[in-house]
Amino acid sequence: MSKQLDKINTIGAVNLALDDAMAADANVIVLGEDVGDKECGGIVGVTKGLSTKYGDARVRSTPISEQAIIGAAIGAAIVGMRPVAEIMLMNFTTVAMDMIVNHAAKLRFMSGGQTHVPLVIRTMTGAGFGTGGQHADYLEAWFAHTAGIKVVAPSNPADAYGLMLSCIADDDPCLFIENMPTYWNPGAAPERGVAIPLGKANVLRAGTDVTLISYSRRVQECAVVAENLAKEGISVELIDLRTISPLDTDTILTSVARTGRAVVVHEAVKPFGVGAEIASRIYEALFSELKAPVQRVGAVHCPVPYSKPLEEAFVPGLKEIEAAVRATLA
């Protein structure tokens, strides 16, 4: 392994994880639209250098055929490869849903454990770039609703590295969600070769008054809100879920049992979302101990809009998160 870096962005972190995994295991292959170096190593360069280093047999640019991409990855995974398939944008998973939901997620169960699908599906999404209604949705609740697939959503470059290593090593299919607008933001570099376990949340900030629960990009907004409120003496505990499914209910409940207050924040639309599931689990376990109703913060229940003021109003920002925290303290 080469030198330890100080700072890295998510593009570099995912690239590094893929590189390390491919170096360690010849069964790891990468396929997706534009992933090869002749095609610039991905639309934003996440897979840059891999085809040059590991060859075109293991790093394959594909036609724009999402069903065929995931199908090929499933078939190869069943017989022992560890494919990392890229579905460029999360909205494009919709044209591969049969392969993901009916096949990747269910083959272990339907075969009675005779086969399994060690597949990683990388996909990017997120509002903020003016890409409108079909390029920026957070659709994680659909996948979390499906038994048999894990849903992973890192909030920073170092986590992206460590969680990607775990996804590749995992014997079950993992959907790995990358936030596009924050791809280029630098963060602390990961420790090379160290995987971050799936299904385990990370308590980013300890606090005593309110538990703030989030994942993916919105963790960054939550961290700012927590810092701001600390100046007023409001002590926020911030939990980064890292993995949405399986959900680390224990970490959530342990925290909320102490604080008595909870706010769940995600960029996905609020109704029928992950926030509803988390709120429900909190109520089921801690109803009598809560000091206030659980607050949910999510996007407006409408397609991602194009116009800048609309797009900014659509996603939950610092103001909405802070208001929700204050609501639990009122």
């Binding site: 036609p63 090929a72 096949h103 272990r108 075969s111 009675g112 454990g113 399994h116």
Partner: protein, 328 residues
Amino acid sequence: MTIQEAPDRATLVEIYRRMTLIKQNDERFRAVIKSGKLVMPYYSPRGQETIPAAISVSLSDDDYICTIYRGIHDMIAKGVPLNALWAELAGRVTGTCKGKGGPMHITHPDSGVMVTTGIVGSSMPIANGLALAAQIRGEKRVAVAYFGDGASNIGAFHESLNLASVWKLPVVFVCQNNGYAEHTRYAYGTSVANIAERAASYQMPGFTVDGNDPVAMYRAARTAIERARDGGGPTLIEAKTFRFHGHVFGDADAYMEAGEKDAWIAKDPVPALRRRLIEAGHATEDDLAKMEAAIEGQIDEAVAFALDSAYPDLAELGRDIYKDEVAV
């Protein structure tokens, strides 16, 4: 170039053995369903026996197949053991999939049956992946994707044939064209006279074959399998055939023209091959009667094994979702 070599005597007898194994199992499935001892959705392949029988004699256990809900003939031809197959249909823990898959999801990797799907068209994208793994590893394995004529109109067909051609994957696409997509006649829903014509769009060989002719099927299959095994890439085989029992068990065939089914049943490929074997001196009546009786015995045993087996423990609900068992 199609291989012209005909199957030798032993191969032709083996094709017949697999065909009659399928036919006799099918007859028993329907009888046991009617008796009330077996409750399952059943998509009979009766009438289509020749296709997988003539293909699978050129495959080994190391070769893969992906098949579909009307695929029990493909599985039997590939060698799925009858006891475990029957037990799976009966939802028993001794089934291939511990009773958790059922007739539309039979999996048996030891005989190369890797995926059975209930979704029209979905055998093809996954067969590509099996072939991709073999190609990357430099193995000489071949993957066969079975599907019906209706599946040639779904996007997965086109994505899969294109990708297989671009990557020269060792895969054989076998369309069992039985003339109906569920209840809709072929011509109402398909733009070409022969599905094999679509192979030209993907720069791969396409053969339209009489799917009920064991020699023609054998030749087409060997041609495609050897081409795939030698690195020549994929082939599309369209096998024209007919299903004798409609779309699903209980189908009244109200959408068929009068006499159509009877005309096909009159050309039943199983007794036709039986007569041919005897007339050609490849087997005697006595040989074949003994073979059929032995199969009946195997089926008797499989039915008893299945119905005497236990149902899966309810804890199975939390097993095989992920590698580690989850609480339910």
